[in-house]
Subunit: 352 residues, 2 copies
């Protein structure tokens, strides 16, 4: 089942702020608010001092990003909802000021995701976790988000037992400069020059890098840990077994996942396909329709294909899953959280 | 443990033929025979009529490929060992003529791999399968070859139970023209032009394609089936559980694998690392040493890294494995088969 891409909520327009408006996700947040007809009364675009002064357009109107340090208390008090996408450190520095001034902060960083009291939400999957929020909502990791709706559908069918996932993550997951570096590396290689390596730990052009984030003591990476722990929290399955291997590949936008799923109970493959096809926010591809970054870049849905039984376990199947990491993996999901807050009456706005 | 890259066998020089000498693997066969000091008395380079007449160099001597149809019976009778790498149909057409004339054929195609009477060999793993051969030896699939030595080491440690593997396979696995297409697609995209799509089913440049080979009725691809069935045959574990997802990524040379392994018995991680480090033909990378195509292109070993426990099963671990698909995945393994035949006295050559 696909999501509508535009929603007229009929809600009182809101004062919206974006912190990190000049980044790759910030750009998609602006586009998404416009495409989805989000009820925006005023828009405050914020950035670090370094990125302040950048001109940006929203609904044909020109905005200039402002230094977040220079926002007044009065301005803060007017903000209803703030999207944070400027790195964990920035989120940790500013969230309390925004929340104390009455805004709901939807944070796209990993700063607060594993705090038990803070909702970590994929609206199709666990919008109910928004109830009782205290002003701060965490938007999950991009790779985690995209497997949640398919996994929930399979869980409801026959009980999730274990998930083994290998990722094919695009350069944009590391930000706009990382995308530029992939392009520059590629051009250099094609011109027989040494490729620049700054944002990535190794050359990414025409190669893959089997490490995203930092390596922990146990050999797992921080990105892999996110896929394990965030999945458990979002699905409310704290004992769910997940094993992840996160790999950067030389694509620009769109993450792909190869997922092996073991379920608890017997199921017909046709039932699994039906469950995935009717899952909210999922586009099911059959046969040799192969969802890749080409299909999903610029889309809000999670695309699933290559669904087939895995005979190596009694109740297992394999599937392939692709989504735009900047949109469903970040901006779209954040806006959907705001929409869910509106729908549930969970934004403390002053009604006119 | 690494393999020596050059071997002086002291064996009587052999009359060697290569069928498919102009291909990406053919080129590496020539290089490998030279690098490994293979005992070559004479070299006959063969190709299809279309590729006949191509000049090639071996040990500073110039050769010209000849149309395989024009080889005389007398010439055939002189050949001791023939490497076939010109596609399954060509192997099926010519193998019997070569074998009946007394040559041992080492076939790099999938034509005969699953024939029970035909040895399918990775020399570090099952060289004993060469005993009693009838003149035709099959070289396994590139992705299968590279996981055999690591998996055998883990099997000997604690018993292989199940393998879930996702691949990151380079364009060269589809041949030289596929590599050209990846380059041309990339250049076109960087120049804002439509990328040509001929050899691949979809655009590969800056994308990944989650299908290699043909889709079978059950949703598995023929490439995935090879990884399952060939692994069972090579490891002599017909009931081994393997689930594979094969994916093409925009790299030129070198295949990578994300492998989740479930073992039967308890083991210490240090024992697994030690087993892998001492496995024949394996280079073990520890910590943030990440084997990628950059490390393995042009190398004969299988590089293994990211070895870590998978806590989602009692006796499981994850590992990452990279190898040059044209070398260890094809030419090197084929030459190693010939070397093993020599070492075991299994080449029916006329001793001078």
């Amino acid at each position: 089942m696909t999501l509508s891409t535009s929603q007229d909520t009929g809600h009182t327009p809101l004062n919206v702020a974006i912190l990190g408006a000049t980044g790759a996700v910030g750009e998609e947040l602006l586009r998404g608010l416009e495409e989805r007809s989000f009820p925006v009364a005023s828009l405050t675009l914020l950035a670090s001092k370094r990125s302040a002064g950048t001109p940006l357009t929203f609904r044909d109107k020109r905005y200039v990003t402002r230094d977040v340090e220079r926002v007044t208390e009065e301005e803060l008090e007017a903000i209803d909802v703030a999207f944070f996408s400027a790195g964990s450190a920035t989120s940790k520095t500013y969230w309390a000021r925004f929340v104390q001034a009455g805004a709901v902060v939807i944070d796209n960083t990993s700063a607060f995701r594993m705090e038990p009291a803070i909702p970590l939400v994929v609206p199709e999957v666990n919008a109910e976790a928004l109830e009782g929020h205290r002003g701060l909502i965490a938007n999950p990791n991009c790779s985690t988000i995209q497997m949640m709706s398919p996994l929930k559908a399979l869980h409801e069918l026959a009980g999730l037992e274990r998930v083994v996932v290998s990722s094919y993550q695009s350069a944009s997951g590391a930000g706009r400069q990382a995308m530029d570096e992939l392009r520059d590396q590629t051009i250099n290689i094609l011109n027989f020059k040494e490729p620049p390596v700054k944002r990535f730990i190794k050359r990414l052009a025409f190669d893959v890098i089997p490490l995203i984030g930092e390596l922990k003591e146990d050999g797992e990476s921080t990105e892999e840990e996110k896929m394990v722990k965030e999945s458990q929290k979002i699905l409310s399955l704290p004992a769910l077994k997940v094993s992840a291997t996160c790999v950067r590949v030389p694509t620009f936008v769109g993450h792909c996942l190869s997922i092996n799923v073991e379920l608890s109970r017997a199921f017909e493959l046709s039932e699994a396909i039906e469950a995935l096809a009717s899952a909210e926010g999922v586009v099911l591809c059959e046969g040799d329709e192969l969802p890749t970054t080409a299909e999903v870049a610029g889309q809000d849905e999670v695309w699933v294909g290559r669904v087939r039984r895995d005979p190596s376990r009694p109740h297992a199947l394999n599937l392939w899953c692709a989504a735009d990491n900047l949109r469903k993996g970040a901006s779209t999901n954040a806006i959907q959280i705001a929409e869910a807050l509106i729908a549930r009456g969970l934004l403390k706005t002053i009604q006119l």
